[in-house]
Every structure is written in structure tokens, then in C-alpha cells.
Subunit: 143 residues, 2 copies
DNA sequence: ATATTAAAGGATATTTTTGTCCTTTATAAA
DNA sequence: TTTATAAAGGACAAAAATATCCTTTAATAT
């Protein structure tokens, strides 16, 4: 569904969003430990998120990553889009180059319904929604 | 969503299912031409499908691949399962090893709804359904 | 029987994704 | 101002997915 990179990215964003204090910073080590991901690889992903303006960073002592925007206004779809692009939202299920309403692949219509469901879910689920559920202990970021 | 291998597999199965005459055989060349896939790679995929008993094959002159079972009773889910395994049906959206109703990841419940939708679609869409739509010209296997 | 055809199978190559390591740059604290 | 800290960036490595090539096996037709 999502690339491994994208899964790490979502996890990382949720973790940072779930930190108390809102704009508190969290370092690479903390993040990768919290989401159980390889540190160096996570660094690259965080860089991508910073470039996509989903995350912000500060170098030096007490530096780290933080979220600038209101987490209530950041939706999972933005993270997925930033990392995996929009093929998941628009691509043909069977990989056809030219697949559209006018020239549909054999599963186009049925698949579109599922994809719209997924897209809708991602576009309406905010980082705050999921971070809150982590904070109240009703969901988890790792084992 | 699906691996490229799986997409080729679905396309190939639909193509063979859409052949007139039902149990007619189609060769590797025809199939890979029809679905616009690399021939040698497609050969490997067809082998997998044969091993999974979704497809049957005959060597020698006039040999080729054909579908044994009633295409009305073969569902897309079986193809996906045979090639990509069942991670798409059961795996955690965020890649967590231990993700369940009791110990859900932050998107578990919302994602489950989407996944159930996908699963339901795949389990109820038969090869005959989609092959028919190709045959009447309302859907296409390539550009 | 022999030749031809087409799938099966094994080995290998290429590409993409995932992952690591090390140096450079920016920031802050001493 | 110097030192410590932590992200940024570049180069490289490993693993997995995708793809090719060539030989072997099975079936048919001559």
C-alpha cells in the first residue's frame, strides 16, 4: 500500500505530533527509537519531510525536529503525497498508462470506489486525530 | 497497492479468461503481447499462477495456458493472494509487527474500513465479471 | 523415431528500494 | 571564540523487485 519509507514518515510525523508541549523539538535518535526505525535512513526521510514543509528542523544543541503548523490542519494525505507521490491516489490498479473513465481498465470502477474511500480517509484524518489517540493510550507507535 | 508482478498476473488472467471458447489455450507470446508485458518475466509469473492452480498449461505444439476452473468461481482475491500473499489483506498500514484490535496502530480502525472494502471488492469480483467487460468492449487491457 | 513447438527451470543481470557511513554546515552553550 | 551538538548532504552498500537469457523437459505432428 504505502512504501516502507512512507510508513516510517507517517510514524515519525505522528510521534512528533504526539509530543507534549506542541512545539517541542525531538531529535533524530529519539524519533527513530520511538518508531523503531533505522536511524540513518530515518534521517533521510525527515529531511524529505522538512523539504516538503511538513516538518521543521533546528541544528545544534537542543536542536531537532518539530511541527510548525497546527497538527489539526495537517492530514495524512499530505504525508503520503510528499513521500509516495500521488500514484496511490490516481494510478491505475492494473498499472495501465492510459486508464480513465473513458478508457477504463477492467477493474477501474470497482477499484475507484476503494481508492476514493482511501483518499477520503487520508484527507480527513489529521495528525492531531491520530496523535491524540496515541497520547490517550488508545493506539500505539510500536510494540 | 499491488506489486507490478501482481498487476501483470491479474492482467494475464483476465486476458486468458476473456478468450472466446472458454478453454482455448493461449501462448506466452500472445499473452505478453496482449497485456503489454515483458515476455520472459511474464513466463515466470504464469509459472507461479500454474503452481497456484489458477492457470493450467500444456507444453508442445498448440500448447499454452488455459483456465481449468469456471471463471465465475475465480475471484481477483485469489490471484492477489497467490502473487502478493496476504499482507495486503492483513498487514498493518504503518508496518507494525504487532497491530491488532487490542493493540492498534494509530490508523488501525480507519484503515481497516478501507482494507475491508478492498478485500470485499476483490473477493466478490470474479474473473468472469471483468473478462466479460473486456469482451463487450467496455473495458480494456492496454492502450 | 525425429523434428518442432512451447512451457519449465536455472542462472544471471538490472533497477529500485532500503539502508549505512562519513563529512559538512548551522546553532547554541561554555 | 571555542567546543559540543545535531541536522544536512554526498557517496556508497545491501536487499528486494523486476527483467533477461539460455538450457531442459514435455507434448505434438511429420
Amino acid at each position: 500500500m504505502f512504501s516502507k519509507t512512507c510508513k516510517y514518515a507517517i510514524n515519525a510525523m505522528i510521534y512528533v505530533a504526539s509530543l507534549p508541549g506542541g512545539n517541542e523539538r525531538s531529535g533524530l535518535k529519539d524519533i527513530s527509537k520511538a518508531i523503531n526505525s533505522p536511524e540513518a535512513f530515518t534521517a533521510k526521510i525527515l529531511q524529505q519531510l522538512v523539504k516538503s514543509d511538513l516538518l521543521h528542523s533546528m541544528k545544534g544543541p537542543n536542536g531537532g525536529f518539530y511541527i510548525h503548523r497546527d497538527t489539526h490542519q495537517i492530514f495524512l494525505s499530505e504525508i503520503v503525497q510528499a513521500i509516495d507521490g500521488d500514484l496511490i491516489f490516481t494510478g491505475c490498479a492494473l498499472g495501465l498508462e492510459k486508464c480513465s473513465e473513458d478508457h477504463p481498465c477492467p477493474v477501474h470502477h470497482k477499484f475507484k470506489a476503494v481508492r476514493d474511500h482511501l483518499t477520503g480517509m487520508l484527507m480527513t484524518t489529521s495528525l492531531k486525530d491520530v496523535a491524540d489517540s496515541v497520547n490517550v493510550g488508545s493506539s500505539f507507535l510500536k510494540i
